[in-house]
Protein backbone atom coordinates (compact mmCIF):
# COMPACT_ATOMS: atom_id res chain seq x y z
CA UNK A 1 0.00 0.00 0.00
CA UNK A 2 1.36 3.42 -0.94
CA UNK A 3 2.50 5.64 1.90
CA UNK A 4 0.00 8.43 2.43
CA UNK A 5 0.83 12.11 2.51
CA UNK A 6 0.61 13.80 5.89
CA UNK A 7 -2.84 15.12 6.79
CA UNK A 8 -1.63 17.60 9.37
CA UNK A 9 0.02 20.54 7.66
CA UNK A 10 1.03 23.28 10.05
CA UNK A 11 2.01 22.58 13.66
CA UNK A 12 2.55 25.42 16.09
CA UNK A 13 3.70 25.09 19.67
CA UNK A 14 1.87 27.09 22.33
CA UNK A 15 2.56 27.52 26.04
CA UNK A 16 0.68 24.41 27.15
CA UNK A 17 0.59 22.32 24.00
CA UNK A 18 0.20 22.61 20.27
CA UNK A 19 -2.06 23.84 17.48
CA UNK A 20 -2.30 21.44 14.55
CA UNK A 21 -3.94 22.18 11.23
CA UNK A 22 -5.14 19.20 9.14
CA UNK A 23 -5.59 19.96 5.45
CA UNK A 24 -8.04 18.63 2.87
CA UNK A 25 -10.95 16.22 3.05
CA UNK A 26 -10.85 13.69 5.88
CA UNK A 27 -12.65 10.53 4.87
CA UNK A 28 -12.25 6.78 5.00
CA UNK A 29 -9.09 7.05 2.92
CA UNK A 30 -7.30 9.73 4.96
CA UNK A 31 -8.60 9.29 8.50
CA UNK A 32 -6.17 6.40 9.31
CA UNK A 33 -3.30 8.74 8.47
CA UNK A 34 -4.78 11.51 10.62
CA UNK A 35 -5.21 9.00 13.45
CA UNK A 36 -1.57 7.93 13.19
CA UNK A 37 -0.37 11.53 13.30
CA UNK A 38 -2.60 12.47 16.23
CA UNK A 39 -1.64 9.37 18.23
CA UNK A 40 2.04 10.18 17.75
CA UNK A 41 1.44 13.68 19.09
CA UNK A 42 -0.68 12.51 22.01
CA UNK A 43 1.96 9.96 23.00
CA UNK A 44 4.21 12.92 23.76
CA UNK A 45 1.61 14.21 26.21
CA UNK A 46 0.37 17.79 26.07
CA UNK A 47 -2.04 19.69 28.28
CA UNK A 48 -3.84 21.23 25.32
CA UNK A 49 -4.17 20.05 21.74
CA UNK A 50 -5.98 22.48 19.46
CA UNK A 51 -7.14 21.00 16.16
CA UNK A 52 -7.75 23.81 13.68
CA UNK A 53 -10.14 22.50 11.02
CA UNK A 54 -10.37 25.66 8.95
CA UNK A 55 -8.64 23.95 6.00
CA UNK A 56 -10.89 20.87 6.13
CA UNK A 57 -13.85 21.31 3.77
CA UNK A 58 -15.33 17.84 4.38
CA UNK A 59 -15.19 15.17 7.06
CA UNK A 60 -17.06 11.89 7.28
CA UNK A 61 -17.83 9.74 10.32
CA UNK A 62 -14.43 8.04 10.15
CA UNK A 63 -12.79 11.43 10.66
CA UNK A 64 -15.15 12.23 13.50
CA UNK A 65 -14.37 8.84 15.08
CA UNK A 66 -10.67 9.67 14.94
CA UNK A 67 -11.24 12.94 16.80
CA UNK A 68 -13.47 11.20 19.37
CA UNK A 69 -10.68 8.73 20.05
CA UNK A 70 -8.18 11.57 20.47
CA UNK A 71 -10.57 13.37 22.81
CA UNK A 72 -10.93 10.27 24.96
CA UNK A 73 -7.16 9.91 25.25
CA UNK A 74 -6.77 13.53 26.27
CA UNK A 75 -9.55 13.26 28.84
CA UNK A 76 -8.07 10.12 30.40
CA UNK A 77 -4.89 12.12 30.98
CA UNK A 78 -6.88 15.14 32.26
CA UNK A 79 -5.72 17.07 29.21
CA UNK A 80 -7.74 19.11 26.73
CA UNK A 81 -8.58 18.76 23.07
CA UNK A 82 -10.24 21.78 21.47
CA UNK A 83 -11.59 22.03 17.93
CA UNK A 84 -11.76 25.32 16.05
CA UNK A 85 -12.42 26.80 12.63
CA UNK A 86 -15.10 24.31 11.57
CA UNK A 87 -16.47 24.91 8.08
CA UNK A 88 -20.21 24.52 7.54
CA UNK A 89 -20.16 20.94 6.25
CA UNK A 90 -17.88 19.81 9.05
CA UNK A 91 -19.89 21.63 11.72
CA UNK A 92 -23.01 19.96 10.38
CA UNK A 93 -21.76 16.42 11.02
CA UNK A 94 -20.85 17.35 14.60
CA UNK A 95 -24.29 18.85 15.14
CA UNK A 96 -26.21 15.92 13.64
CA UNK A 97 -24.25 13.47 15.77
CA UNK A 98 -24.65 15.81 18.77
CA UNK A 99 -20.91 15.81 19.29
CA UNK A 100 -20.92 19.60 19.29
CA UNK A 101 -22.12 19.17 22.88
CA UNK A 102 -19.20 16.87 23.71
CA UNK A 103 -16.24 18.65 22.13
CA UNK A 104 -15.08 22.10 23.10
CA UNK A 105 -15.44 24.03 19.84
CA UNK A 106 -14.34 27.62 19.26
CA UNK A 107 -14.30 29.99 16.31
CA UNK A 108 -10.53 30.11 15.95
CA UNK A 109 -7.26 28.99 17.48
CA UNK A 110 -6.89 32.19 19.52
CA UNK A 111 -10.18 31.52 21.29
CA UNK A 112 -9.27 27.84 21.72
CA UNK A 113 -6.31 28.89 23.82
CA UNK A 114 -8.65 30.44 26.38
CA UNK A 115 -10.94 27.41 26.89
Amino acid sequence: MAEQDAVIGQRQSIDDGMVVKPEGEIDLIRSPQLRAELMELLDQGMARLIVDLSDVPFMDSSGVATLVEALQIQRRKSNKLVLCGLQAKVRSIFEISRLDMVFQITEDAAAAGDV
Binding site: S61, Q72, K89, I96, S97
Partner: protein
Protein backbone atom coordinates in the same frame (compact mmCIF):
# COMPACT_ATOMS: atom_id res chain seq x y z
CA UNK B 1 -30.93 -2.04 -10.65
CA UNK B 2 -33.72 0.43 -11.33
CA UNK B 3 -34.32 0.63 -15.07
CA UNK B 4 -35.30 4.27 -15.23
CA UNK B 5 -32.90 6.09 -12.96
CA UNK B 6 -31.40 9.35 -14.20
CA UNK B 7 -27.94 8.66 -12.83
CA UNK B 8 -26.17 5.30 -12.69
CA UNK B 9 -22.70 4.63 -11.33
CA UNK B 10 -20.90 1.36 -10.80
CA UNK B 11 -17.74 1.22 -8.74
CA UNK B 12 -15.65 -1.49 -7.16
CA UNK B 13 -15.56 -1.54 -3.39
CA UNK B 14 -12.39 0.49 -3.06
CA UNK B 15 -12.68 3.49 -0.71
CA UNK B 16 -10.78 5.65 -3.19
CA UNK B 17 -13.90 5.82 -5.37
CA UNK B 18 -16.26 7.01 -2.64
CA UNK B 19 -15.30 10.63 -3.24
CA UNK B 20 -16.20 10.41 -6.94
CA UNK B 21 -19.68 9.10 -6.16
CA UNK B 22 -20.17 11.67 -3.42
CA UNK B 23 -19.34 14.49 -5.80
CA UNK B 24 -21.61 13.08 -8.53
CA UNK B 25 -24.58 12.87 -6.17
CA UNK B 26 -23.90 16.34 -4.77
CA UNK B 27 -23.66 17.77 -8.27
CA UNK B 28 -26.85 16.01 -9.42
CA UNK B 29 -28.80 17.30 -6.42
CA UNK B 30 -27.51 20.82 -7.05
CA UNK B 31 -28.58 20.68 -10.69
CA UNK B 32 -32.07 19.67 -9.52
CA UNK B 33 -32.28 22.83 -7.46
CA UNK B 34 -31.60 21.40 -4.00
CA UNK B 35 -30.34 23.84 -1.36
CA UNK B 36 -26.58 23.86 -0.84
CA UNK B 37 -26.88 22.34 2.64
CA UNK B 38 -29.07 19.54 1.29
CA UNK B 39 -26.56 18.80 -1.48
CA UNK B 40 -23.80 18.47 1.11
CA UNK B 41 -25.94 16.25 3.33
CA UNK B 42 -26.81 13.95 0.43
CA UNK B 43 -23.13 13.63 -0.42
CA UNK B 44 -22.28 12.84 3.20
CA UNK B 45 -25.00 10.18 3.42
CA UNK B 46 -23.95 8.46 0.21
CA UNK B 47 -20.34 8.40 1.40
CA UNK B 48 -21.38 6.88 4.72
CA UNK B 49 -23.53 4.26 3.02
CA UNK B 50 -20.73 3.27 0.65
CA UNK B 51 -18.26 3.09 3.53
CA UNK B 52 -20.63 0.75 5.37
CA UNK B 53 -20.95 -1.52 2.33
CA UNK B 54 -17.16 -1.71 1.98
CA UNK B 55 -16.39 -2.17 5.69
CA UNK B 56 -19.26 -4.35 6.85
CA UNK B 57 -20.80 -5.85 3.71
CA UNK B 58 -17.60 -6.68 1.87
CA UNK B 59 -15.25 -6.84 4.89
CA UNK B 60 -12.82 -4.41 3.22
CA UNK B 61 -12.50 -6.40 0.00
CA UNK B 62 -11.69 -3.84 -2.70
CA UNK B 63 -12.83 -5.61 -5.88
CA UNK B 64 -16.54 -6.21 -5.32
CA UNK B 65 -19.30 -4.37 -7.21
CA UNK B 66 -21.43 -1.53 -5.86
CA UNK B 67 -24.16 0.14 -7.90
CA UNK B 68 -25.49 3.61 -7.15
CA UNK B 69 -28.44 5.27 -8.83
CA UNK B 70 -29.99 8.68 -8.32
CA UNK B 71 -33.32 10.01 -9.55
CA UNK B 72 -35.64 12.94 -8.93
CA UNK B 73 -39.06 11.84 -7.63
CA UNK B 74 -42.41 13.29 -6.68
CA UNK B 75 -43.53 12.20 -3.23
CA UNK B 76 -46.72 13.48 -1.65
CA UNK B 77 -46.51 16.72 -3.60
CA UNK B 78 -42.88 17.31 -2.80
CA UNK B 79 -39.81 17.07 -5.00
CA UNK B 80 -37.44 14.40 -3.73
CA UNK B 81 -34.13 12.91 -4.68
CA UNK B 82 -33.91 9.14 -4.40
CA UNK B 83 -30.64 7.27 -4.10
CA UNK B 84 -30.40 3.49 -4.33
CA UNK B 85 -27.24 1.61 -3.41
CA UNK B 86 -26.95 -2.09 -4.15
CA UNK B 87 -24.21 -4.60 -3.46
CA UNK B 88 -23.59 -8.34 -3.54
CA UNK B 89 -22.62 -8.77 0.10
CA UNK B 90 -23.79 -11.98 1.70
CA UNK B 91 -24.95 -12.88 5.17
CA UNK B 92 -25.94 -9.36 6.16
CA UNK B 93 -28.72 -9.43 8.78
CA UNK B 94 -30.85 -6.41 7.92
CA UNK B 95 -32.22 -6.27 11.47
CA UNK B 96 -28.71 -5.64 12.75
CA UNK B 97 -28.32 -2.44 10.70
CA UNK B 98 -29.25 0.14 13.26
CA UNK B 99 -28.15 3.44 14.71
CA UNK B 100 -26.33 3.39 18.03
CA UNK B 101 -27.31 5.53 21.03
CA UNK B 102 -25.63 8.92 20.87
CA UNK B 103 -25.31 9.36 24.62
CA UNK B 104 -22.41 6.93 24.48
CA UNK B 105 -19.37 8.90 23.34
CA UNK B 106 -17.14 6.51 21.46
CA UNK B 107 -15.51 6.26 18.04
CA UNK B 108 -17.41 4.53 15.25
CA UNK B 109 -20.99 3.56 14.53
CA UNK B 110 -22.16 7.01 13.50
CA UNK B 111 -22.72 6.29 9.82
CA UNK B 112 -26.16 4.69 10.15
CA UNK B 113 -27.27 7.44 12.51
CA UNK B 114 -26.26 10.10 10.00
CA UNK B 115 -28.11 8.30 7.21
CA UNK B 116 -31.31 7.95 9.23
CA UNK B 117 -31.13 11.45 10.61
CA UNK B 118 -30.57 13.22 7.30
CA UNK B 119 -32.77 11.22 4.93
CA UNK B 120 -36.58 11.32 5.01
CA UNK B 121 -36.96 7.67 4.03
CA UNK B 122 -34.48 4.84 4.50
CA UNK B 123 -35.23 1.25 3.57
CA UNK B 124 -32.92 -1.74 3.62
CA UNK B 125 -33.94 -4.89 1.77
CA UNK B 126 -32.39 -7.86 0.08
CA UNK B 127 -31.94 -7.52 -3.67
CA UNK B 128 -34.51 -9.13 -5.91
CA UNK B 129 -32.24 -12.01 -6.86
CA UNK B 130 -31.61 -12.62 -3.16
CA UNK B 131 -27.89 -11.90 -3.31
CA UNK B 132 -26.82 -8.67 -1.66
CA UNK B 133 -28.40 -5.66 -0.01
CA UNK B 134 -30.44 -2.84 -1.48
CA UNK B 135 -30.55 0.49 0.34
CA UNK B 136 -33.18 2.92 -0.90
CA UNK B 137 -33.05 6.45 0.51
CA UNK B 138 -35.16 9.47 -0.30
CA UNK B 139 -34.84 13.12 0.69
CA UNK B 140 -37.13 16.05 0.00
CA UNK B 141 -35.35 18.76 -1.96
CA UNK B 142 -38.18 21.25 -2.32
CA UNK B 143 -41.86 21.87 -2.96
CA UNK B 144 -43.42 20.43 -6.10
CA UNK B 145 -43.74 23.75 -7.89
CA UNK B 146 -40.12 24.81 -7.39
CA UNK B 147 -38.31 25.25 -10.69
CA UNK B 148 -34.98 23.48 -10.91
CA UNK B 149 -31.95 25.55 -11.80
CA UNK B 150 -30.84 25.07 -15.40
Amino acid sequence: MDEHSDLEIRIVSNPRYICAVRLAIESAARSLGAAEQTCGELALVVGEALANVIKHGYQDQTDRPIWVTGSPMQDDGRRCFEVVIEDESQGVDLDQIKSRPLDEVRPGGLGVHLIQCIMDQVEYSHRQDGVGVRLRMRKCIGPANQVAKS
